[in-house]
Each structure stands twice: as C-alpha cells, then as structure tokens.
C-alpha cells in the first residue's frame, strides 16, 4: 500500500520544496521506494533542489495528458536507487492537471510498488494546492514561527479536514506539523514564537523542528537535499523527522540556544 504524503503550507517560501526533497530522500535512504511529485505547474523547482534539472525530459503534465508514460517521465535519483522525481511542467498552466489525471498517476505509482508518494504542493489554495492534498493519506504542514505562516497553516489544516478525499469519505487525513526556520536564540530573547506557542495556536504537536541554518542554502545551491548533509543541524533534524514519520520516537534536537562562551558574552556575537 502506497502512502500519499502531501507537503503543504498555504504560504510560500516557508520551505515546502526543501522539505519535500529532504523527506523523500530520507525515506529512500531508509529503504523505502519513493516518488516525489512537483505539483507547482508553471513554476517547477523541485528538480533543482533534487539536482536533476538537466535530466527532465517529460513531466507530470505530460503523464496526466497521456503524452508520455509514467516510466518515461520518472527521473531516477543518482544517489538512491529507490527514489524517483516527477517534475512539474514549466510551460503549461495549472489547469493542465485534472483530478482524474492525478488520481490515475497516483494509482499507477501505487500499483508499481511505491511505498511513499510525496506530493510537493504549490503555495496558495488554488487548483494545484488542492490537487496536491486531495488524495493524501497524511499531510506535512510546513510552518515558520511567524504570524502569517501560522495563520495560513491553520487555514490549510481546515482545508485538509474538508476538501480532501478522506474528509469526503468521513475519514481524516493524518496531519503533522513541521516547524522550519526555527531560531532558538531568538525564541529565548522573546523575539520569535516558540514551539509550544505554535503547537498551542494550531492545536497540533510538531513532528520535527528544523533550525534556521545557512546549510539549507548551501544544499540548494549544489542540488543536494540538506538531509544528506550529515554535519548540518538542519540535515540531522530532517533525519529525525523522517524517523518519526516512520513511527520511531526521537527527542527534539537543536531547539535550545547554544551556551555562549565567556568572550562571546562580553563582546556579543
């Protein structure tokens, strides 16, 4: 049984694609067969973050429209044998995707033995975002500790509870909250919403907290999902989040400010 996991947020720029790439890579590293699909038709980006932008021949819209087979369109990852990317179209618009077309692609992937299908949602609450979440079994809601992102996440949680296939069948999409761009120093100074604040407002526990880190930009610059950077706190935090998605219990890390040395305290830093 393939599990369909949507990575969504409402607000743009919070780290959906970074998260999709890392979660998909982490699941594949854990031995799962994974497809990650870019639903942002017209603004393809997952291919860049995954580092396979020069190998896109056919895309998601081509498959939905029957212009290419799924096999032709899935791009095999160079790092993991069980990881495949389905790129978004760069030239078509979001109306090129249909509910029936998306459903068929997801079903074909499930029949092909995929364990996880990760759907990277576009920002907003329009058609692309709606289709990315509609068939989901689980949702990873990416949120930044910032007012507009938290508000939009609550909106998205409302849509997950009403505008999905599971909701229409009287079931519930399993929701997970992933807090990204977290800065423990700023939280301790009272400048940033804390994990507990966000959990309390949204009424949901976090499945992971990714610290704000320069490594995320370094990773996207080079086309390597940050989870593969094992030296990086952000990478390790993603690894923990993947383990929790797979049912493991792990304590949160990188969520408290590092103790500063004597000199740093005196001179600032």
């Amino acid at each position: 049984m393939a599990e369909i996991l949507v990575v969504t947020s409402g607000k743009g720029g919070v780290g959906k694609t970074t998260t999709s790439a890392s979660i998909a890579s982490g699941l594949a590293r854990a031995g799962k067969k994974v497809a990650v699909i870019d639903f942002d038709v017209g603004l393809r980006n997952l291919d860049l973050i995954m580092g396979c932008e020069r190998r896109v021949v056919y895309d998601f819209v081509n498959v939905v429209q029957g212009e290419a087979s799924l096999k032709q369109s899935l791009i095999k990852d160079k790092r993991f044998d069980t990881l495949f990317v389905l790129a978004a179209s760069q030239t078509r618009d979001k109306d090129a995707l249909t509910k029936e077309g998306v459903e068929k692609v997801l079903k074909d992937l499930a029949d092909d033995g995929f364990d996880f299908i990760v759907c990277d949602s576009p920002a907003g609450i329009e058609k692309g975002a709606f289709l990315a979440m509609y068939f989901a079994d689980r949702a990873l809601v990416v949120v930044n500790p910032e007012v507009s992102s938290v508000r939009d996440s609550d909106r998205i949680l409302g849509l997950l509870q009403s505008k999905t296939r599971k909701a229409e069948n009287g079931e519930r999409v399993q929701e997970h909250l992933l807090l990204t761009r977290y800065n423990p120093e700023r939280v301790e100074r009272g400048e940033m919403l804390s994990i507990a604040d966000v959990e309390e407002i949204l009424g949901l526990k976090v499945i992971g907290v990714i610290p704000e880190s320069p490594d995320v930009l370094q990773a996207s610059n080079s086309g390597n999902p940050v989870i593969l950077d094992e030296q990086s706190a952000a990478g390790q935090a993603y690894t923990d989040a993947v383990a929790r998605l797979l049912g493991e219990e792990r304590p949160l890390r990188f969520t408290t400010a590092e103790k500063k040395g004597f000199f740093a305290k005196i001179f600032g830093g």
Binding site: V147, G190, I201, G268
Partner: protein, 88 residues
C-alpha cells in the same frame, strides 16, 4: 548580548504579542469556517444598521452559528459602549 547592548534601549519582546494576536485571529477564523457564506455580510450589515443609532466599535457585533441538538441557532450579540448615548 554584549556589554555594549546596555547602551542601547532594549526593544520589547514581540513574540508574546504575536501569540496573542494569532490566538484571537485563529479562533475567530475557525468559528466562521464551514459556516454559511452570508455570515460575514450579515454581520457587516447589522453593524451598519446599529451604527445608525448607537456609535459602536467595529468588533461590537458578533454573529455565530451554534449547533443545538439537531438545529442551528443564529447567535447575534451586540456589545454597547459603557455609556450608550443614542446619536440617532
């Protein structure tokens, strides 16, 4: 957090402000979610009518749809200012 920071005026911590604003906003948005589309418009028109007679704040009128057993109750509450001086 260095020695020289003492020379600068400390800005008030804003995270608690953010939390309080979000708490109120999210609760309000959740209460209207899934309800009929006309509720916000009804609230606005009620406010306009009331303002013809009493000068109330923009948030003085609350319109909620409450489930009571198997029927819905439209719950409208208007809070008047301390000294309700009729201006109409």
């Amino acid at each position: 957090m260095g020695l020289f920071d003492f020379l600068l005026a400390k800005k008030p911590a804003t995270a608690s402000v953010a939390k309080e604003r979000l708490r109120i906003l999210v609760a309000q948005e959740r209460s209207t979610r899934g309800g009929p589309d006309y509720l916000p418009l009804l609230r606005r028109e009620l406010l306009e009518v009331i303002r013809k007679y009493v000068n109330v704040d923009a948030d003085a009128v609350k319109v909620d749809l409450v489930k009571d057993g198997d029927h819905d109750v439209l719950d409208i509450s208007v809070s008047l200012p301390e000294k309700a001086d009729g201006t109409g």
